[in-house]
Amino acid sequence: MQAFAYRSVGELVRFENVGLRYGVGAETLTDVSFSIEPQSFQFLTGASGTGKTTLLRLIMQALKPTRGTVVLFGQDTSLLEKDGLTALRRRMGIVFQDFRLLDHLTTYENVALPLKVQGRDELSYRAEVMELLSWVGLGDLIHAKPPVLSGGEKQRASIARALVAQPELLLADEPTGNVDPSLARRLLRLFVEMNRSGTAILIATHDLGLMDQIDGARRLVLADRRLYSEANDV
């Protein structure tokens, strides 16, 4: 394992000496510095409670760092206005660990939501949403609402929602944590496909088996509140 040194050309994400503290206690994350390149594929791993979700929340701007600099798509987030933040979020797709699907909407409506909130007319995106739903194997469940979907189906709906706006960066928090190994492999293939089509992927997971399935993927490891990059960094 080696201390991570970031590169600065064309990154989607750059952290410089970022620290985060909840309340007045010790820092949860200390001196975190790394970057994510366009079209790259990386895993974020570490034992439970080491701050994987916290780091993702820092990237998605659900949390503000206590110190350090977070640069997203070339913009220092400490200087961002609300409208600017919205614009940045539209360039990211997020797969939540607990799916965060809206229970009162159908699968189709959930997946189409990122396009709908951008003010796009339904006629302009209906076909692509249907195609994506078929691609993730939910073509027959477009009218079903999340409460009647299985864990795997919810997971796929959540991934489809994250991908529908063709983001430049996809953040996935334990995307295979609720599914069987077979489905986990299928979902991973989905991420690889997305990566090949140009989306940078960051998957937070503690599943070593999952990481072993992708050759050459960078591994960012959280341990002792710090971020390290493993030797197979690309």
């Binding site: 659900a62 919205t86 965060r100 809206l102 229970d103 009162h104 409506e109 706006a165």
Partner: protein, 315 residues
């Protein structure tokens, strides 16, 4: 989560179909029970506001009519005086009044008629012959060319010392004050009802947003801006406000028109009565519509302000 749409046959379901423009947006996971309670509260408040406004309008119109009636008539009073013939005084006063321009007609009340007016105080058994009952002359004023009443009064008093002219000014003034007071009180009540409606919406919006906190967070993460999210809540509560307003205002309108109809039935529904009712009802309809619009604007503004304040905190 339960379906947000009201059952087709319910009042709310019918309103949904009548007002598709105010169809609730599915992004707000509303609680139908809370929504119906809120619509009911707004309907009741609008009903009270509309009734208050209609009552104020009725009172003002009636007071104005009375004032016009009182101003178009004056009374000349002749007190019996020792050594003077009251009948001669009446004849003299009548001649003066008839010869004055601006007076369209006069009527001399007979002794019995004057006594009748005093009956509530003196009783019918009293012998009017033994009492010095004043005599009255009612004078109709030509509204187009009203006479100088001060001059008429002076002329009368000079010619007939027992005569005095009462132009009802004191009563007209008091009636005007009373009407103004009622109008002010009604306006105050209307303001209170509107403020209560606004506060109700504020609390309901805050409650709904707290209940939808997770949805708001997800919407933020998938790229929705505050304007979009606020629009969802705002349109939802504005729609509820309009539904409540239309329901309450509609019932108030029906009640007021029904009462008027009920009052007219004993006289028979003659065409003139119906046309008068339609004329007055046009004012009432406009007033009720005004109250509905006011309630809708207040609910829209209250929800908008609350949404923007709350969304900033949640974000």
């Amino acid at each position: 989560m339960s379906d947000m749409r009201a059952p087709r046959n319910s009042v709310f379901g019918k309103l949904d179909r009548l007002m598709p423009i105010f169809k609730r947006d599915p992004l707000v996971a509303a609680d139908p029970v809370t929504d119906r309670a809120l619509v009911a509260v707004i309907a009741i408040l609008t009903f009270l506001a509309a009734l208050t406004a209609c009552a104020a309008q009725f009172t003002t119109m009636t007071a104005m009519r009375w004032q016009v009636m009182m101003a178009s008539e004056v009374t000349v009073q002749l007190k019996p005086q020792a050594g003077r013939s009251i009948d001669a005084d009446i004849t003299r006063a009548s001649d003066i009044l008839r010869g004055t321009s601006g007076i369209s007609s006069i009527k001399v009340l007979r002794r019995e008629e004057s006594a009748k007016l005093l009956e509530p105080w003196l009783g019918s058994a009293a012998s009017i012959e033994s009492l010095p009952i004043p005599r009255l002359i009612t004078v109709q004023i030509d509204a187009r060319q009203p006479p100088d009443l001060a001059m008429v009064g002076k002329t009368l008093t000079d010619a007939v010392p027992s005569a005095s002219l009462d132009d009802h000014r004191t009563w007209t003034k008091r009636l005007g004050h009373l009407s103004d007071l009622f109008l002010t009180a009604s306006f105050g009540a209307l303001i209170l009802v509107v403020v209560t409606t606004g506060l109700t919406i504020v609390f309901a919006t805050r409650g709904a947003m707290a209940g939808n906190r997770e949805i708001i967070e997800v919407l933020h993460f998938i790229g929705a801006d505050d304007r979009y999210i606020a629009g969802q809540f705002q349109s939802h509560f504005a729609a509820l406000g309009v539904r409540g307003g239309v329901l309450g205002g509609g019932v108030a309108l029906l009640l007021v028109l029904g009462l008027k109809l009920f009052i007219m039935i004993p006289d028979g529904l003659q065409s003139s009565a119906i046309s008068e009712m339609l004329f007055l009802d046009w004012q009432i309809i406009m007033l009720t519509l005004g109250v509905i619009v006011l309630v809708s604007i207040v609910t829209g503004l209250a929800s908008r302000l609350t949404v923007y304040r709350t969304i900033g905190r949640l974000a």
